[in-house]
């Protein structure tokens, strides 16, 4: 089961595998997955490491999916409802490919680190060369595999680059503990993540 899921995610959501691998197999480790979708990450954590995390999701259809695969999920709106969760109630708070869709990413980061000790964020990098290329050559908002919607109907209202994310963390006093850029060429990705990594996973903590 776990292998099959891992294989499927390697294709579809490699960032989730990176996040899953960052969370240690420890007894009683508490994981909250914000914007958990159909619950893939939490299922992987349950099946590979026996970790029983909880998801937060706004879409009724996705909640139905979570329940069908036995993933606990809370129906909430990340923009408004997170204050209902107590301080320090989780060890890891994950946020995968979601931060660009909330109304105030900066406030959400603060909320994440209020609720949890560590935040794990996978970030769509708008500085990626493929995106820059489209914008430069076509002079139009890029449409990619990870950003498939039009500029006018997309949920992704706060796109930024890896540079932007680092600067935001610095401005609001958040530590970047780890940074794992994901790209096709390990060499180039390492050389200049902001240019060559379409996605980057950050682990953040309170300063």
């Amino acid at each position: 089961m776990a292998e099959l899921l891992r294989k499927e995610l390697a294709e579809r959501r490699p960032d989730l595998l990176v996040i899953a691998d960052m969370i240690p197999r420890e007894d009683g480790v508490r994981v909250l997955d914000l914007g958990c979708g159909g619950g893939s990450l939490l299922r992987l954590l349950r099946e590979e490491k026996g970790i029983h995390g909880i998801g937060v999701e706004i879409s009724q259809d996705k909640i139905v999916k979570c329940i069908a695969s036995g993933v606990p999920v809370i129906h909430m709106d990340l923009d408004n409802d997170l204050m209902f969760i107590e301080n320090d109630s989780f060890d890891y708070v994950a946020l995968s490919r979601t931060i660009q869709a909330v109304r105030r990413p900066d406030l959400l980061i603060r909320q994440m680190l209020r609720i949890g000790t560590l935040g794990v964020i996978s970030f769509i990098n708008f500085g990626y060369i493929g995106i820059r290329w489209q914008l430069m050559i076509n002079g139009a908002m890029p449409e990619t595999k990870t950003l498939p919607d039009h500029w006018f109907d997309t949920d992704n209202i706060h796109l930024g680059t890896i540079h932007d994310f680092r600067r935001l963390c610095s401005d609001i006093g958040v530590n970047i503990v780890r940074e794992v850029p994901l790209g096709n060429s390990p060499f180039l990705t390492k050389l200049n993540p902001n240019l060559f990594a379409p996605t980057c996973v950050f682990v953040i903590a309170r300063r």
């Binding site: 009724q60 329940i67 036995g70 809370i74 209902f84 969760i85 107590e86 109630s89």
Partner: protein, 387 residues
């Protein structure tokens, strides 16, 4: 499933369980009094398996009864099925081919279980207002007696909407070891002042009906009072949108206003009908007692108002469901519950289902609700089997 089985009626038979014959066996109530020689009317569907891991308890709402699904007769065409027939039965979301389903009438009720219109064994006359005031927890303690009688060690699930959901929460608090999972639908951890207010007005309607006679009515029941209480309550079960859709401003009979105070509008006619039908099947004194039990319902009371502390012992997996247009038990109240459960590290899921039906959605949104409940029970059964 073949077509024949689909069309064949699920026939059920009401059963009775009596307890409290002796002083020791009597049910000690929250008010301090004891209930002796109490009867519980219940129905069962499906078979309890050898492992005993397929028992599901369903708890009914204020005006419900033990008849959750199926029919009493083979071919009486006028007979309506049980109140949650879309959800419970062979091949239905709560599949009675797989699960042993139990539903009982609450104590204080008027559909077979001991209530204010039962005979007081001490006086050989009807209890009426001498019936002790009961609580939601008392109802649950009585159901626990039935559980022992049925030789069930652990419920796979306890499920209920509205007042049934309150009983679900009391089950989770009082008997944490004896539940695998709990599903609380369109409910609240404590009755809001708004709901208490509606209950009060409903009871006043009954008590000010001259026929009520301090609860000692005989053949002439306080029908006007009870019907008024029901009409008021019924409005709280609907939503502005559902009423607009169902009735609009449509006039019932004529094209013009009557310019008097008889019913003109379809919505007035509907409410009147609901009131009349209710009086045929429900008892006024029971209405007083059951609404009072709801008024007193406050899960946090056992921990001086701290809901998190009050729920500290909850062990089962929980599913909390609310509906967008339910303004009687709005999502904010479910969320308060979810928050307290999260604080206790309970495995909890929640969903606010989109619906325009208002509070009644828990009876009507059977498609979404059915899928969620079926999936949740299926997973929980695996969890229970794997220990």
């Amino acid at each position: 499933m073949d077509k024949k089985e689909h069309t064949r009626r699920l026939i059920v038979k009401p059963l009775d369980f009596t307890f409290g014959e002796t002083e020791e066996d009597a049910l000690l109530l929250d008010c301090g009094k004891k209930l002796t020689k109490a009867n519980i009317r219940y129905e069962t569907y499906g078979q309890l398996n050898h492992a005993g891991d397929n028992a599901v308890l369903i708890l009914h709402a204020l005006s419900g009864d033990a008849h959750v699904a199926g029919y009493y007769t083979e071919n009486d065409e006028k007979e309506k099925p049980g109140w949650w027939d879309d959800m419970v039965g062979p091949g239905k979301p709560i599949n009675t081919n797989q699960y042993f389903v139990v539903c009982s009438n609450v104590i204080g009720g008027c559909s077979g279980s001991t209530g204010p219109r039962s005979v007081n064994p001490e006086t050989d006359r009807l209890y009426n207002m001498d019936f002790p005031v009961i609580t939601i927890a008392d109802m649950v303690r009585a159901q626990h007696r039935l559980m022992k009688h049925l030789k069930i060690d652990k419920w796979l699930g306890v499920i209920g909407g509205s007042m049934g959901g309150m009983q679900v929460l009391e089950w989770a608090r009082l008997y944490p070891e004896q539940i695998q999972c709990a599903i609380a639908i369109a409910t609240t951890p404590r009755l809001s002042p708004q709901s208490i207010a509606f209950n009060w007005v409903g009871r006043e309607a009954i008590k000010t009906d001259p026929k009520w006679d301090n609860g000692n009515y005989t053949d002439t029941v306080p029908d006007k009072g009870l019907a008024t209480a029901r009409m008021l309550a019924h409005v709280t079960y609907l939503s502005d949108e559902s009423m607009k859709r169902k009735f609009g401003r449509v006039l019932q009979k004529s094209k013009n206003y009557s310019f008097d105070f008889n019913r003109d509008f379809a919505v007035e006619s509907y409410l009147e009908y609901q009131g009349l039908r209710f009086v045929e099947r429900f008892d006024a004194n029971s209405y007083l007692y059951i609404t009072r039990a709801m008024d007193y319902f406050d899960m946090s009371a056992s921990a001086a108002g701290n809901l998190t502390k009050a729920l500290a012992g909850v062990k089962c997996h929980m599913l909390v469901i609310s509906f967008t247009s339910d303004w009687l038990f709005p999502t904010s109240q479910s969320r308060e519950l979810v928050r307290a459960l999260l604080n206790n590290n309970v495995h909890v899921s929640s969903c606010e289902i989109k619906s325009s039906y208002g509070h009644d959605a828990f009876l009507l949104e059977t498609e979404t609700l059915g899928k969620m409940l079926a999936d949740f029970l299926r997973i929980q059964r695996e969890v229970m089997r794997n220990g």
